[in-house]
């Protein structure tokens, strides 16, 4: 499933997003290549979730564009972007409370693209789901809900999977188990863009990272390129953090 011309699956160009009059993102750009796991890190309020939501179509940017496989999808609504291949697992899981586990995953299939992911395959990925399929969503634990949310997005056969703050509200052991699924997804050819507040976790799974601070990019590159001090400086906006090449000065 890899593209031979090397162009990115998902691209954001100079995104500017406003919350009322406050700028949440200012001229943010990124590129996610096929098959990679790209992590966006940053402190609370840095604009990470806003970025994902804008990429998924829930926010209209005031300026900038979003491209999927080179096609400009900025004008498309969220449901249209899913049809094009962008699937977001939103912050806080957001399962359908009145439905069972199975129904939640089923809803994901209703507007799915062609592909190899279906309910059965997802139940193979998460073996515990099969026997709990009729349980109400709100009876599941936080980690289980997170898995169901991922499953719901997977069955839509997306080109790229967006994961927003998987670790939120979960214990470290559960978080490790959730993230343990990611390598299996990557080997199945799923491209992943994730937002994560836990920097250690992000560094462990990502092939490239981007750090945001107050709506601007402060760092882009492979984890191996940076010292922990450098990342910390970018994260907190300390002296010694220089804007990434090509970005506007902070």
């Amino acid at each position: 499933m890899s593209r031979s011309d090397g162009s990115p699956v998902l691209e954001a160009r100079e995104l500017t997003v406003l919350h009322g009059q406050l700028p949440a993102l200012q001229g943010v750009s990124l590129e996610v290549r096929t098959g990679e796991a790209y992590a966006i890190i940053g402190a609370n309020g840095a604009g990470k979730s806003t970025l994902l939501r804008t990429l998924a179509g829930l926010h209209r940017p005031a300026a900038g564009s979003v491209l999927l496989d080179g096609v400009d999808v900025t004008a498309r609504r969220a449901e249209e972007r899913l049809a094009a291949g962008i699937a977001l697992v939103p912050e806080g899981r957001r399962l359908f409370g009145s439905m069972t586990l199975e129904e939640n995953v089923l809803v994901g299939t209703y507007h799915a693209r062609e592909g190899t992911w279906d309910v059965d395959r997802v139940f193979e990925l998460f073996p515990w789901m099969a026997e709990r399929r009729r349980q109400s969503a709100w009876q599941l634990s936080g980690g289980e809900q997170q898995a169901v949310a991922i499953a719901r997005a997977l069955v839509a056969n997306p080109r790229i999977l967006l994961l927003d703050e998987l670790s939120l509200g979960l214990s470290p052991a559960v978080v490790r188990r959730i993230y343990g699924v990611l390598p299996e997804l990557r080997s199945a050819g799923v491209t992943i863009l994730l937002v994560e507040q836990d920097v250690t976790q992000a560094l462990a799974v990502a092939s490239r990272i981007q750090c945001l601070l107050e709506g601007r990019t402060t760092l882009v590159g492979a984890p191996s390129e940076f010292t922990p001090a450098r990342i910390e400086a970018a994260y907190f906006g300390l002296a010694g953090a220089t804007p990434a090449a090509g970005e506007e000065a902070g």
């Binding site: 406003l18 009059q21 406050l22 700028p23 005031a62």
Partner: protein, 369 residues
């Protein structure tokens, strides 16, 4: 519209001022208008006087509904409960020998008192729940009043006490009473909104939880507005029965009162004090010219109101009056070099100024969900 503040401005460069000082000329103009209106019975025929009485009643009711819905965010479809109660208060008092005109203030207070337990029940509700509950309350009032034969049952009762008054004088005094009620209603609304209540209501509307955490007594503010609106509609109801000289329960408690109030305010402009005034004039003119066609004028007005609500939510006053406020109740936050000016002008707003307390300005940007 993306002027971002890179550095917080120095404290002395920020001032909070009124959106415009009540200019002396608007006050004088208002007094002159009221004086002319008061003199009217000496100039005009009884028919005109009667018509204007109805106009002031409509104006009072609409202003009250605007206070409830436009400023406090409570959409009521049941204000006819208090209109009817106001009328029946006067009837009961008149049947016990009280001069009807004297009964007006008593009935007004009476309606406010009755509104207290009703508020207790209804004010926990929001949105559509609140709306329909007010409607049910109005229906209950209708049903209960209709049970009393002494009040005319369902067929109607005449208003005693005014029979030996000269009709021309009676019409004039009724007119002056309705004018007084309308002026009092507008004055009360203006003073309330200009004072602390106005700011409290804005805070509640913008962020109720935030306001509550700052100690704003949300429930108390809502209750006050509800009681004032009840009293105002009750006062309007007293004029209704006095000018008609009889009362019939289904007519006194008909939802058509609410329909009129709502359409007037929508068309005139929700969220400004001037809106209901403009709307009443337009509505009244329409009503007078189309009255022979019965239900037709309500259909036309209803359709116009629907169109205005969706496509021009700021109403007529918002369209033609713009930022002009004859009754200034809002605030400006002036930031930057102009903060030192003593006479801010609302007509040419600063780019970095924010308008608070102006319900109409915010109504245009009502958010989805």
């Amino acid at each position: 519209m993306s002027s971002t503040l890179e550095r917080p401005p120095a404290l002395d460069a920020i001032r909070v001022t009124r959106s415009s000082r009540p200019r002396r000329w608007t006050l004088l103009l208002g007094i002159a208008v009221v004086a002319v209106l008061a003199y009217l019975p000496y100039l005009a025929y009884a028919g005109t006087t009667d018509t204007l009485t109805d106009f002031f009643v409509l104006l009072t009711m609409s202003s009250m509904w605007n206070l409830l819905a436009g400023y406090a965010g409570m959409v009521s479809v049941g204000q006819q409960a208090f209109i009817g109660l106001g009328a029946y208060f006067v009837l009961i008092l008149a049947q016990h020998g009280v001069e009807p005109f004297v009964a007006i203030p008593v009935a007004t207070v009476g309606c406010a008192v009755i509104a207290i337990p009703i508020a207790l029940l209804l004010l926990r509700l929001r949105g559509g729940y609140f709306a329909i509950a007010t409607w049910v309350v109005a229906e209950v009032c209708l049903q209960v009043i209709s049970r009393f034969n002494s009040l005319g049952g369902g067929t109607g009762a005449p208003l005693p006490g005014l029979d030996d008054m000269d009709p021309t004088i009676r019409t004039a005094i009724t007119y002056w009473a309705s004018l007084a009620v309308a002026v009092a209603a507008l004055a009360v609304i203006y003073l309330l909104l200009r004072g602390r209540l106005g700011l409290v209501l804005t805070a509640i509307r913008d962020n109720e939880i935030g306001a509550r955490s700052l100690g704003v007594r949300v429930a108390r503010a809502r209750r006050l507005v509800f009681l004032v609106a009840a009293a105002g509609c009750g006062a309007a109801g007293t004029i209704v029965i006095i000018s008609a000289l009889n009362v019939q329960a289904p007519a006194a408690f008909t939802v058509e009162w609410s329909a009129n109030m709502i359409f007037v305010t929508i068309i005139g402009g929700i969220g400004t004090i001037e809106g209901p005034i403009v709307g009443s004039i337009v509505f009244f003119a329409l009503q007078q010219s189309l009255s022979e066609h019965g239900a037709l004028y309500l259909i036309i007005v209803g359709l116009v109101a629907i169109v205005v609500a969706i496509w021009a939510p700021q109403g007529l006053w918002g369209l033609i009056g713009g930022r002009l406020r004859l009754f200034p109740v809002g605030y400006w936050l002036r930031v930057g070099p102009d903060a030192g000016r003593t006479l801010p002008s609302p007509d040419r707003p600063d780019e970095t100024a924010f308008l608070a307390g102006d319900a109409a300005a915010e109504r245009g940007g009502e958010h989805d969900g």
